[in-house]
């Protein structure tokens, strides 16, 4: 691919017209704006503008103590609500040199993989909805409930599990709860064939996804794509395999590509479905291994919170934490200084941050009808800031704060009712 041609902004010729998609659009689950230049139904140019939900989390995080930062990190994304804490705890533990007890490592991995199951099922449902196949959406989300229920049983909440903490985990998985996990795993194992049948052997799904939104192997590498998006193109990149961490270091984990399904990787949406469904199967195996081989022992190496706060305040150094989230690599960089409770630097990299650029080759040359499914194919998670909004009504674009928006809304209500 010609490097100069890749930009977030590619414009077509003069005969084109432009169609804006987003920030509010039924195809998008989170606010992001695409401006497509179209020639008939064909996409010849695209400009991507994220940032409608930028909350300044890193800015906030550099102004509060690390335990508070942990829960802030959990709220970067509601779906990867364990991935960011896992990466952050590892970064801080690497920086401060804190050991994590083996049992805690296993529990972190179990919750992480459960999240992968529910996230991939969520994605599969959204993908079906984008194709206009709502029935498949409802069927998929119905079975997704089981993993959410299990997470609620194990952690005490359906989202934002609050399980990892620096130096360990906060809750144990006792034997009386482990059987619930086995039950859920059996449930999913029995469903896998049906899922693969419903998605991969359905004619209308195949018609809409095969050779649509192709990301070539070379583009995936040049654009630094991560996670299932990269693996669908045949790039065998998976942090759990490449640079193991936590309990993943005890297991033989292999990056899943369409080759495991017996097909050549093309990098289209269909391959994305293959990779994600097979990863659900992989997660089931990992959880089972973890449950069976979970060592006994303590949960936190520094169990007292005041002692933990003191240890973190004393720590000096920098650390990198990486975790293979359902959508790809999550990366946290933290620098701590002695005597300062807050992280001096905290940089968060969510998977969509890398995959943003992968959208461009995927969109180019496709049709309007493919926009939703291609947009969904990288499983975007637009986790970003602000409660201000730009409004352009004839004059200069101006920043409206919430009070003003409330006032405008009330005015309109009055106008309609009166």
């Amino acid at each position: 691919m010609n490097n100069e041609s890749i930009s977030l902004q590619i414009r077509g010729g003069a005969t084109c017209y432009s169609v804006p998609i987003g920030p509010v659009h039924p195809a998008l689950k989170e606010p992001i704006r695409f401006e497509f230049n179209l020639d008939g139904e064909r996409i010849v140019g695209v400009d991507i503008k994220p940032g409608f939900a930028h909350r300044g989390i890193e800015y906030m995080g550099m102004r509060r103590n690390l335990i508070k930062v942990l829960y802030l990190a959990e709220r970067i994304c509601g779906i990867c609500s364990i991935s960011h804490p896992l990466a952050l705890t590892q970064a801080v533990e690497n920086a401060a040199g804190i050991e994590v007890p083996p049992r805690a490592q296993y529990i972190r991995a179990i919750i992480g993989e459960l999240e992968r199951i529910h996230s991939h099922l969520l994605w599969a449902g959204v993908g079906a909805h984008e194709l206009g196949f709502d029935t498949l959406l409802h069927l998929t989300w119905k079975v997704r409930e089981k993993s959410m229920d299990l997470l609620e049983q194990l952690t005490g909440n359906r989202v934002d599990y609050a399980i990892p903490i620096f130096s360990g985990v906060r809750r144990d998985i006792p034997d009386e709860k482990a059987h619930l996990a086995y039950e859920a795993l059996d449930y999913y194992r029995g469903l896998l064939d049906k899922m693969i049948d419903a998605y991969l052997h359905d004619k209308s799904v195949e018609m809409r996804t095969r050779n649509v939104g192709v990301l070539s192997y070379d583009d995936a590498i040049a654009l630094c794509a991560v996670g299932p998006t990269a693996r669908a193109s045949g790039v065998k990149k998976d942090v759990r395999q490449d640079m193991p961490y936590l309990a993943y270091a005890d297991m033989e984990i292999k990056a899943i590509t369409p080759e495991d399904f017996g097909t050549e990787p093309i990098g289209d949406v269909y391959d994305n479905i293959i990779v994600r469904l097979l990863e659900v199967a992989q997660s089931i195996e990992i959880i089972e291994y973890c449950l069976e081989n979970m060592p006994k022992g303590e949960l936190m190496s520094i169990p007292k919170i005041p002692a933990l706060l003191a240890a973190l305040k004393k720590a000096e150094g920098e650390g990198i934490g990486r975790h293979e989230a359902p959508r790809g690599e999550v990366f946290h960089y933290v620098r701590l200084e002695e005597g300062i409770e807050e992280p001096v630097v905290w940089k968060v990299k969510a998977p969509t941050y890398n995959n943003l650029m992968a959208w461009i080759p995927k969109f180019m040359g496709e049709e309007i009808a493919d926009i939703p499914i291609i947009a969904a194919s990288i499983d975007p998670c637009v986790c970003c800031m602000d409660r201000v909004h730009l409004v352009d009504r004839g004059g200069e674009p101006s920043v409206k704060v919430k009070d003003e928006l409330v006032r405008l809304s009330r005015e309109k209500t009055r106008r309609i009712c009166g």
Binding site: K68, Y71, H138, K142, E145, E152, Q153, A162, I305
Partner: protein, 130 residues
């Protein structure tokens, strides 16, 4: 084949839990009044585990006023009352991480399984603990 599943579901029970009522009532407030008076029943929510991280309960007598919970609370829910050396929590801001429960050295805080906390006033009696 998916069609088979569809027909099975056509005659089966829907997956949706009809909490609180199956269809939108003509008037929500009237229904709530009726439920309050015991004249109507609503469908219960799906049972939650006993160790759900719900609304935090506060044992005022046990509290020693050490303020560790205030240091760890990510949402600044907890206010310190200096005269009495006790705390007050504004549940409307709570993120239900229960870190304060873990941090409390004397066990004055605990989680409950209460989660139906919607209210029109964020300072209502139900949403201020302590």
């Amino acid at each position: 084949m998916i069609i088979g599943t569809l027909f099975k579901q056509l005659f089966g029970k829907p997956a949706t839990n009809p909490f609180p009522v199956k269809y939108m009532p003509r008037s929500v407030t009237a229904l709530l009044e009726k439920v309050g008076a015991g004249k109507a029943a609503i469908n219960p929510p799906i049972p939650v585990p006993s160790d759900l991280r719900g609304k935090i309960a506060y044992d005022r007598d046990k509290c020693i006023g050490c303020q560790i919970c205030i240091r760890v609370c990510p949402a600044n829910v907890i206010e310190f009352l200096p005269e009495e050396k006790k705390i007050r929590m504004y549940v409307a801001r709570c993120t239900f991480c229960a870190q304060c429960v873990d941090a409390c050295p004397v066990g004055a805080l605990s989680t409950t399984d209460e989660f139906l906390l919607a209210d029109t006033d964020r300072f209502s009696e139900n949403l201020v603990v302590g």
